[in-house]
Amino acid sequence: MLPNLTDVSKLCIGIPKEYLVPELSSEVQSLWFKAANLFESGGAKVIEVSLPHTSYSSVCYQVLCTSEVASNMARFDGLEYGHRCDIDVSTEAMYAATRQEGFNDVVKGRILAGNFFLLKENYENYFIKAQKVRRLIANDFVNVFNSGVDVLLTPTILSEAIPYVEFIKEDNRTRSAQNDIFTQAVNMAGLPAVSVPVALSEQGLPLGLQFIGRAFCDQQLLTIAKWFEKQVQFPVIQLQELIDDHQSFKMKS
């Protein structure tokens, strides 16, 4: 069980200025600032911090992610498990047709891009460079935490939760470029982060905020998130009530 935090006055909350992007919805933005004020009114120190390499995270992620995808998907060759095509003229032909049939365009695109980045002639210019950029991104966080910040408070995505019909409209790449910007860097830095539902939008859809903690300080992060969750009283759907209602309805009928 996580300890209950009663006093936030000794905490230092960082607000990364690079995360205040033009695309951020006003609803999320005002919620974010409200949350910052909540900590401040609790006695915490809230300061603006800088993660200068944030803007490179998307392109860096494209290289590293697709490279790993290309490698990880190599096992789906139709031999041991999964889909296998009907072609059996040769093992190579079987591989090709199986993978052609089994993967969708997003996966195929990632496999092609990843293998391109890993080619001997491209490895230095793409993969190694992306690893170096990832190190710069990670160091941004190290510097911020070294300056005395305990956790970072950021939006999770640009807007309210996206309905499925909207989600499938865009291709994956555009989608991640748009909406992953706040979660990508933290994952590349290898840090713990948690998204907490805060309020419902005008449309009645959930809005969330994210906390990012120091490496291996997951407990501190979750303790703060738990305190915050208690303060905001997000209107969680009470599943137990629904179940009870359903059962009483069944009994009546």
């Binding site: 490698s71 096992r75 060759d77 031999l79 041991e80 993969f127």
Partner: protein
Amino acid sequence: MAAPVLRCCCSGRRWAFACIDRGSRHGRGAPTGSWFCGKRGQRSVAQQLLSAAQKLRKGEHEWTAVVGLEIHAQISSNSKLFSGSKVHFAAPPNSLVSFFDASLPGTLPVLNRRCVEAAVMTGLALNCHINKKSLFDRKHYFYADLPAGYQITQQRLPIAVNGSLAYSICTGKKQSQVISKTVRIKQIQLEQDSGKTLHDDFRSQTLIDLNRAGIGLLEVVLEPDMSCGEEAATAVRELQLILQALGTSQAIMADGQLRVDANISVHHPGEPLGVRTEVKNLNSARFLAKAIDYEIQRQIKELENGGEILNETRSFDYKLGCTVPMRDKEGKQDYRFIPEPNLPPLVIYDSASLPANADPQQVINIDRIREQIPELPSVTREKLVQQYGMLPEHSLTLLNEVGLLEFFQNVIKETRAEPKKVTSWVLNTFLGFLKQENLAVSESPVTPSALAELLNLLDRKAISSAAAKQVFEELWRNEGKTPAQIVSEKQLELMQDREALEQLCHAVMEEHPQVVMDMKKGNPRAINKLIGLVRKATLNRADPTAMFHVPPPDAEAEPVEADGRERHTPASPHPDPAPRVLPPRDQQRRP
């Protein structure tokens, strides 16, 4: 002017390709056709053609060959490199396959401590620098017996680097000149073995056995410091002995526990290295040497005929005795290496860097492993030379034949015979018989105890050397008799009755006055003839040494002793060489 640069190590046995001169302009006249791809008998023809070609091209450049090796040794461990599956040779197909070995999605590698220790110990024994931090990488290629589509290896930063392997080569007519050589070791890396693919051409299907998939391998990369097949084969044999002594690999080539790929190129001395080819599929030391020598010749011939060498992978066809391009390795492979994201850097320690609170079960201490290194073959050989006054080449043979050293030591333990005599009997007689019938030491019908007993009989002069040979032959037939039984059954005991021997000697001399005269004139053959006659008269039971003690009838000259040394060679038609009339001073013994 054209000094022999490309020298084969055992020029006596193998056909020599020393100083094969360049002759691209005259190359058209050079013999063509597949010299070595045919039957064995064609070799001598090729040799003749070669030497003829050499004479034509005097004064031109010679070729030198450069050979490097990549050796894969299966680590001797209970479980695989990254999974808990058992390692066992010849288990039923696909019976030793964990989810990880079959690369099911979501499975993760867990590094086997034993494999790391084996790599460190092997690295130390091969004088390597041990990297306290090493990394794992994925090497990608699609192959039916590689279920993940990649092999986990150590491409960027291997566990051990910059070592050396010393080996000795016997040269000269009688293979009695021992030359020490060293090959540098570039690196030793830990990696996974692949599964096995079996092609069933009859039913046109491919069968996969994943029992081997994921077994830990040590890839030992030898720098191109060798120049012929014999050198490469000898270096591999030495490595094999070291691995076996360490227990880090059983290293049996026939079982695929030790696999060798060779990189070969030829060039003119002083010029840049030539384009190299890689020869795979080398699963015995003999084929390794043959394949390399064939490939060197093929490249020289190709270049002399104005052709070029392609950077390609070839395999050795042991039936045809030649190398052929591998079809499935055509085209350049790009392995698309990537750091293995599921394995952190491998960090090991020495006593100085070991953290104070480290759990000994969780860390590897290089210094502790160094303490556990057993006696290495080079030291064993050194000891044999010192302890038994053995010749270096004999110590080489004793270790090179599997089980022979143990056999020798067991004989030594049970016999009073001198070590030199034991060495001679084990290396000449015993090994000669084994070789003749193509048997391993473990298959020998003669036990160490039986040989020891036989040598005891010989040592106390109960039988002659010739009789001992006869007893040995009987023992070889393995009819369950002891040497003593054979001696008494066949009446092989030496004549102990000195007076009778004297009488016999005198009688023979009287019967052959001419031979006696010859002897007195100093003809050394004459005394041998007399000895032979006496032995014939006694059915070989007369001791030739004792005969020297027989005073001549006129009893004026002092008797001359024979030197007690004998050489044993099974091939010799006269296994018991005639004693020398005048042995060197230092070998004389006073009664």
